[in-house]
Amino acid sequence: MKNRLLPWGLALPAILLVAIFLGLPVIETLLTTFADPKGAFAPYIKFFNSGFRRTVLWRTMEVAVITTVLSVLIGFVTAWVVANAPAKAKSYLIIAAVFPLLTGVVVRSFAWLVILGKNGILNSLLLALGIISEPFSMLYTQGAVIVAMVYLFVPLMILTCVGVLEGIPQDLTDAAASLGATQWGVFKQVILPMAVPGLIVGAVLVFTGSFTSYATPQLLGGERQMMMGTFLHQRAMVVFDWVGASTIAAIMVVVTLATVLLMSKLARKLNPVAG
């Protein structure tokens, strides 16, 4: 009897921490959106009836999808080079990828503020090269947000993909070669299909990360490029519209969870190893 309770006893403090300080508040936030006096779905109807709000949601989706696609492509190709680099070069390249990852979001977004600003480096460079005749601000555009987000997530994708690629046993690629597959054949028929589940997991991280980000759209997108994260903050802390903020929060939770569930289902389907 004592032994049956021990495992639960050990796990209990952590369970309580999550239940009380995550479960309770998040559920309350979700319930808030259904407790509107104007009707259960009133906040959602309001959200989707507002052109501005729809634009914010759509823009966030668009930025997250573009960021994900670019990060996966850049990350995978770079990881391929890293995984096949000589041992010494490889460890330096991994350090170069890990370092930005461990540097904070604010610092990394700030760097792009310096680069893309009106008096920034890119403008000075383009002016010096005579490509443009007067500086123009690249900040507060969707492009700026995407560039900074790709910058944010490429290291994560590189590390994920290096892990995935190194997890493919060499015996398998040797076997494919011995059976007559050329280098391209081995890549297309063995490495890529085996890497896809890992790539999906990485892509989900990038998508949910960029969909819910705050600091980068705040610094590089500003008011003009309002995204779900910045919009939530504005509703909650500037306008004090907590129902509206909770609605945004609920939509974010639904999109995030749906993406994670659907994609992990897809990854499992594409991965007969686990099944």
């Binding site: 015996d171 076997a175 494919a176 011995s178 190893v273």
Partner: protein, 353 residues
């Protein structure tokens, strides 16, 4: 199409370490040759060189009249069975088997037919649509075999193919491998560290040590007439005694060893020189109570083997292991003589090991 495999003066390095030194090997048409040795002896390196996963620093590899030495792996046309099986986890049994055919540009219908035929031949009909993760070890082994055989390669190679199976399956699968290899008449190179496996399956066996072939012969010759002390030790000659020939007596050779005079029948032994080594299995030295004609010994620890008693014996030639009959166990400390049994002994040249 049967061809022979020839390795000529192959030298190979890992970085700066030499792993193979001037290795020569010929595997005849339709012959199965095993490379046998402990880990690090160079047997797997040899196989990977032939497969094209490594390049030799010197020498040539020929398959029939083709020079493979600089050919990329995928153009070598060799069927390879891996220790880990290396089945593609994302492909079904049928697609695994068909993989090599697909690389050869064989049309889907033909490909599927040939793959299914092969799946059936290795006894896996009904499993064609399963994935490797859902197969037992023995079944995976059969898929690996089918995948290597279906491309009808002129050369089959096996890298410790049975080491992940339990004892019973191992015996079953090695019979299966031998059967399929002989039925196709395919030339084969087989790498293993298991002596019983190598001897039971091979036409000839190469015993390797430190990147060199110590002896290449039929299992029968290796077992009874090893060519040097390394091979003798490897095939179970536990005792090696230094001896000097002193003369002849009719059809007997007279030799002095361990302070005693031994008589060895000429019909069994061909001395490599005046000074030589006498190697004996424990069964090749019979323990008899002193006095008598043989190597004098003081008996130490006695253990029971079922078919005989085994004794640790102190002699002038060193500590030896010898067996005595079940009828008359001798006590520790007793004086005895050890009598060589010619069928379980052999002579070796004296050389630096």
């Amino acid at each position: 199409m049967t061809v022979s495999l020839t390795l000529e003066n192959i030298t190979a390095h890992y970085g700066k370490t030499m792993v193979l030194e001037d290795l020569n090997l010929h595997v005849g048409e339709g012959e199965l040759v095993s490379l046998l040795g402990s880990s690090g002896c160079g047997k797997t390196t040899t196989l990977r060189l032939v497969a094209g996963f490594l390049e030799p620093t010197a020498g040539h590899i020929r398959l029939g009249d083709r020079d493979l030495t600089r050919l990329p792996s995928h153009a070598r046309d060799i069927g390879l069975v891996f220790q880990t099986y290396a089945l593609f986890p994302h492909l079904s049994v049928k697609d695994n088997v068909a993989f090599g055919l697909k690389q050869r540009g064989i049309a889907t219908a033909e490909r599927n037919k040939r793959a299914m035929d092969m799946v059936e031949r290795v006894g896996l009909s009904g499993f064609a649509d399963r994935y490797p993760a859902n197969l037992s070890g023995g079944q995976r082994q059969r898929v690996a075999l089918a995948r290597a055989l279906v491309i009808d390669p002129p050369l089959l190679m096996f890298d410790e193919p049975l080491s992940n199976l339990d004892a019973k399956l191992r015996v079953e699968m090695r019979v299966e491998i031998r059967r399929l290899q002989q039925a196709n008449g395919t030339t084969a190179l087989y790498v293993t560290h298991d002596q019983e496996e190598a001897f039971s399956i091979s036409d000839r066996v190469a015993i390797m040590n430190k990147g060199r072939i110590m002896q290449l012969d039929t299992p029968e010759v290796l077992y009874s007439r090893p060519a040097n002390a390394f091979v003798a030790d490897f095939v179970g000659f536990e005792n090696v005694i230094e001896a000097v020939a002193t003369g002849e007596d009719g059809d007997m050779i007279l030799a002095e060893a361990g302070g005693a005079l031994l008589k060895l029948p000429k019909s069994h032994f061909e001395l490599p020189g005046k000074e030589f080594l006498l190697a004996a299995r424990a069964d090749g030295l019979t323990v008899t109570a002193a006095p008598g004609e043989g190597l004098p010994a003081t008996l130490g620890l006695r253990t029971y083997l079922g078919r005989a008693y085994q004794y640790v014996c102190e002699t002038q030639a060193g500590t030896l292991t010898a067996n005595g009959p079940l009828g008359a166990p001798l006590e520790t400390g007793a004086n005895a003589v050890l009598i060589p049994q010619p069928e379980q002994c052999c002579v070796l040249p004296r050389e630096a090991l």
